[in-house]
């Protein structure tokens, strides 16, 4: 019986070897994808300007001549509505020593600060 002539099958075999190694390489690379965060993304994500700004606004609100509660409600409600951040603060002159407590939370970063007057 005539055998199938398989003299040149080594060429196809080379082809297959290269293909398989290519697949393997792709698999390895696929598993090694690095997930990271660029510096710019971390800068945007951290609310440095927001916290600084709200601290200064709270400081100014402590010095208003009247309407402290209105200003506090303004800051709380506008913050929740427009900045998606929970801001709350107290000016506890009822306690002794007088303390100011500031709380900020935008869902990713939380910030608390307490001042005590001696």
């Amino acid at each position: 019986m005539a055998r199938l002539n398989d003299d040149a099958q080594w060429i196809v075999l080379m082809g297959f070897i290269v293909s398989f190694s290519f697949f393997f390489l792709a698999l390895v690379i696929n598993q090694s994808t690095v997930v990271g965060q660029t510096t710019a993304e971390s800068v945007i994500e951290f609310p440095k300007n927001d916290i600084r700004d709200v601290r200064e606004a709270i400081g100014k609100s402590m010095k208003v001549s009247s309407g402290f509660e209105d200003v506090r409600s303004d800051i709380r409600i506008i913050s929740m509505n427009r900045k998606s951040a929970v801001v709350n603060y107290t000016n506890s002159s009822a306690t002794s020593p007088a303390t100011i407590w500031i709380h900020y939370n935008n869902g990713v970063t939380e910030y608390n600060e307490t001042w005590t007057k001696f």
């Binding site: 660029t38 945007i44 609100s61 409600s73 303004d74």
Partner: protein
């Protein structure tokens, strides 16, 4: 005479092998994704820093016990009135560069305040152009404490929001 075409085997095998490799390569390269760095974030960060800086600088009084420019602007602006002082000041702060050229940053600014029933209303303060929706914009905000708002003389807190983008 018998045509000896035994060598065609090599050719065919060669073709086949080549075809296999090329198809594989094509499939593989299409499948793995190339991870590009988030380039837009750098521009966003620069714009946000610039907008926040400009708003903050406008809210610093020039000397002690004075109103800041921002406070005067908010107190003097009625709803529906375009405040040109804000427009020119903010535009020059944000677009001035140390070289001779200027930047081309556009913006639209709103003021948000708390009105009756704890609802938040906004009104336009000034803009260089109406937003058409296709711009990739960044938001910068600033709290301003004012002594009167829309005619009511009472300390209030409002939020100035500015959307910035480059053309």
């Amino acid at each position: 005479m018998v045509k000896n075409d035994g060598g065609q085997l090599y050719t065919i095998e060669g073709f086949a092998a080549g075809l296999i490799m090329i198809i594989t390569a094509y499939l593989v390269v299409n499948a793995t994704s190339v991870y590009t760095a988030g380039d837009t974030h750098i521009n966003d960060m620069q714009l946000e820093a610039l907008g926040s800086d400009a708003l903050r600088v406008m809210d610093i009084p020039v000397s002690n016990d004075e109103h800041s420019l921002m406070q005067d602007i908010i107190e003097d602006t009625d709803i529906g009135v375009n405040n040109l002082t804000f427009g020119t000041t903010f535009s020059s702060l944000v677009n001035n560069k140390t070289g001779s050229s200027r930047d081309h940053i556009q913006f639209t600014a709103n003021v948000s305040y708390r009105s009756t029933g704890d609802t938040i209303d906004s009104y336009l303060l000034n803009n260089t152009r109406n937003l058409s929706g296709g711009e990739h914009s960044v938001r910068a905000t600033k709290w301003v404490i004012v002594d009167e708002l829309h005619g009511n003389v009472q300390p209030r807190a409002v939020l100035v929001e500015v959307l910035l983008w480059r053309d």
